[in-house]
């Protein structure tokens, strides 16, 4: 593998090492670019792929890996920002989440089939770009992108999925995208192993831990991992939970995410926290 390019939402880049870190650690590409971004939608992801292709000129020696996200997201490019936000792409996650730019979107535009049609276009364009140019690639998904709207907001009925405007694109895309994480990974199980008390309250971060990613990459992308990677992933996972345990204030922070998000400078996590991000920090 010459260069590794990875794209996705928070399943791709988060507060601890996600799947790109495992691939990078195992396969040691000459260059590694992770374009993952929390709360990104598929439009943002596709745009980053096009941009990276134009700037870095993907070749057949590279590997491009994309993890598609929920379709019920809207990304906006705002060069000068809106309200108090900075300029650039605004990614707010699921449109039903309160806050951010979702506040500005008229709810009458939350049209199920419209989200489906636009993500089908976005995803099929991207896959076509890579397949036609024979760029080695893996397509993944955090949930069943074309069958559910994500985050528990309903599912599409057959009328939408079998419509002449959607069916050909679905049939083109679906076989090329690997099984979704939630088909066989329960992201709570590892969390509850480290924090059994949370099982009673059924609270856990739903982002996969390193051992989940390893299982997913093995099953869906056919990757195998050396002992060195397995060991580093385990150490990283242990360290991450230790960090959470140490900094978690269950009384005031019922939301464990705040352990990571409540630091002073969003761009500069502390050294201690930053260790969670890369397997390289745990290499023997």
């Amino acid at each position: 593998m010459n260069r590794l390019f990875t794209f996705g939402c928070s399943f791709t880049k988060y507060n601890w090492a996600m799947w790109p870190e495992l691939v990078n650690f195992e396969y040691k590409p000459s260059e590694y670019y992770n374009f993952g971004r929390c709360a990104a939608g598929n439009q943002y992801i596709a745009h980053q792929v096009a941009l990276a292709n134009q700037i870095h000129k993907f070749t057949t020696d590279d590997m491009v890996m994309i993890c598609w996200t929920h379709m019920f997201r809207k990304d906006w490019f705002e060069p000068y920002g809106v309200g108090e936000t900075d300029g650039g792409w605004q990614c707010n996650g699921n449109v039903f989440n309160p806050g951010g730019l979702n506040f500005y979107i008229d709810k009458r535009l939350y049209i199920l089939e419209d989200f489906l049609a636009k993500d089908l276009l976005t995803i099929s364009n991207t896959i076509k770009l890579l397949e036609t140019t024979k760029i080695p690639n893996h397509q993944m998904q955090i949930t069943s992108v074309f069958e559910t709207t994500g985050d528990g907001h309903g599912i599409f009925d057959n009328d939408v999925l079998s419509h002449p405007e959607t069916k050909p694109l679905l049939e083109y895309c679906q076989p090329k995208i690997g099984l979704p994480y939630d088909n066989f990974i329960d992201t709570h199980d590892v969390w509850f192993r480290y924090f059994p008390e949370d099982a009673k309250k059924h609270v856990a971060d739903y982002h996969p831990m390193p051992e989940h990613h390893m299982e997913y990459l093995s099953k869906v992308c056919g990757m195998s991992f050396s002992d060195a990677t397995v060991t580093a992933a385990k150490k990283c996972q242990d360290y991450t939970f230790e960090y959470i345990r140490k900094h978690r204030d269950e009384e005031s922070y019922k939301d464990f995410n705040l352990v990571f998000q409540d630091y002073d400078d969003q761009d500069m996590p502390s050294y201690e926290m930053g260790l969670c991000l890369s397997l390289e920090n745990f290499r023997d």
């Binding site: 096009a50 089939e113 076509k128 036609t132 405007e165 050909p168």
Partner: protein, 171 residues
């Protein structure tokens, strides 16, 4: 231009199609698009056409891209192409002017246009592209540090844009 077997036309507004047909005289012609179509819709029908007809190096593809300030809506199992947002429309009028900026629409559209153009480049089809308002690109400023990243794709697209009426005469 000679030996045009299949011609694929993607049109947003009944652009000089008759003139093109007379000039190229293809054996087969497939026309897609409709008045008021935006670039999302045009990319969508391109993908459907490509799946059905498998566009190849023997084909000629002509794309009349629309302006950036259009939204296409897939509602009640059909596309609603309401044209320019400043002209209103049932769904366009629900867009928030704070969000619906030309830079956003450009970022959305150039992703699609880039994918279509790159694909046609790779399969070796002869392909020609025109925008309804060619000056849209020249009006946009990429000086803003945030917009600089868009510049590389935009420049690629700009090199592909031409005046369609010249096809058949220049070649």
């Amino acid at each position: 231009m000679t030996n045009v077997q299949r011609l694929f036309l993607f049109d947003n507004d009944n652009n000089e199609i008759e003139k093109i047909l007379n000039s190229l005289q293809p054996l087969e012609c497939f026309k897609f698009g409709q008045t008021g179509a935006g670039n999302s819709y045009l990319s969508h029908v391109f993908n459907l056409a490509n799946i059905e007809h498998k566009i190849s190096h023997n084909d000629v593809v002509i794309m009349f891209w629309s302006n950036f300030n259009r939204w296409d809506w897939f509602i009640d199992f059909k596309w609603s192409n309401e044209g320019d947002t400043n002209k209103g429309g049932k769904y366009n009028s629900l867009l928030n002017s704070d969000l619906d900026q030309i830079e956003h629409c450009m970022s959305r559209d150039i992703t699609h246009m880039y994918a279509v153009m790159k694909y046609l480049d790779f399969v070796g089809a002869r392909h020609y592209h025109q925008m309804l308002d060619f000056t849209m690109f020249t009006k946009l400023k990429f000086d803003n540090i945030i917009c600089k990243s868009q510049k590389s794709i935009s420049e690629y697209i700009r090199t592909k844009l031409t005046k369609i009426e010249r096809i058949g005469y220049d070649n």
